[in-house]
Symmetry: C2
């Protein structure tokens, strides 16, 4: 009976998740179907559906461990008695989390068709390289390069995040300029009288 049960369960859950992550990375979540996952595993669609009732369930299962880590770090930070301890715990925790989950982040962050264009198009690569040098200096060290990359990611996030959708464009522009300068370690420009 144990054997029958194991057969009914189909491919091991971990194997389905590993294959899903690989296909999501290659085709994007939206570009991957349960059929593609089943084909890659050499099983029927029904066998995949037996474990995950939809592609959203697979995506959820893939990010569940990271969400659980996020929950633990938020609770640990909230439990700190002082504000300084709360920020320090939250920051070191979230930095650790994104470093640890960088492969998963890449899958959930970008559409692979877009990443290919961004990283393989010679004109765009040339322009983003020149922009990096403008922001980080002509011969940037690793810290300055990280700051320039964070400026890019931060600006993209701030202009697409639904939490900031209601913010006045002039106000947003002012904060983005100020925060990007801060990130690059630049002083505020002299204001013209």
């Amino acid at each position: 009976m144990t054997v029958q049960r194991a057969q009914r369960v189909g491919p091991a859950r971990d194997r389905v998740l590993a294959v899903a992550l690989e296909l999501f990375a290659r085709h994007g979540v939206s570009g991957t179907s349960i059929q593609m996952i089943a084909d890659e595993l050499g099983v029927t669609k029904a066998a995949v559906y037996f474990q995950f009732n939809a592609k959203e369930g697979l995506l959820r299962a893939l990010v569940a461990p990271a969400i659980e880590e996020l929950r633990l770090l938020v609770e640990a930070a909230e439990a700190q008695p002082r504000r300084s301890g709360q920020v320090a715990t939250a920051l070191s925790g979230i930095v650790e989390l994104v470093i640890k989950n960088s492969r998963l982040n890449a899958v959930v962050l970008a559409d692979p068709a877009v990443s290919r264009l961004a990283h393989e198009d010679p004109i765009l690569r040339d322009l983003t390289g020149r922009l990096d040098r403008l922001l980080a200096g002509p011969d940037p060290d690793a810290r300055a390069t990280v700051a320039a990359v964070m400026v890019g990611g931060g600006l993209m996030a701030a202009t697409t995040d639904p939490r900031l959708a209601e913010l006045d464009k002039d106000e947003l522009r002012e904060y983005l300029l100020e925060l990007a300068r801060r990130l690059l370690g630049l002083r505020a420009p002299r204001t013209r009288a």
Copy 2:
């Protein structure tokens, strides 16, 4: 002959691009096929292929105006005689560009299946809201909220950008912590003796 030519050309180029952007936003670039675009336009696949020889060509045409603006701003910044003027021109230009192209950024930035999970899952929304308050303070103003969103986007970018893939993890962790603190306007923590 003019009429025949117009018919051969099929749907207007701008109309194809508008429909493609809409479908990319809904299904992701990787999740959208030329067939889906043709169906939405009510034409044959051949009519779409007549204007764009592949989906990559459509994506390229959609981002081409933004790439041209990027080229102009990089050249204007490089033409500044001083380093301070170069940074100022590059920064104000790139902030303007991302604000202006926020809809396009959203399409190229995230897989819609992932965005739905991130913004609609109540557990994840609760956790990211609590993390925001930990980083930006319990009752953050707009500036502090923008800073917290930029921390999130910056960290995701820095841990997935191929330019930083070779960087030692300990070094990356140190820079990310320092730069995130800078972005949040926090002083460096006292080091333990």
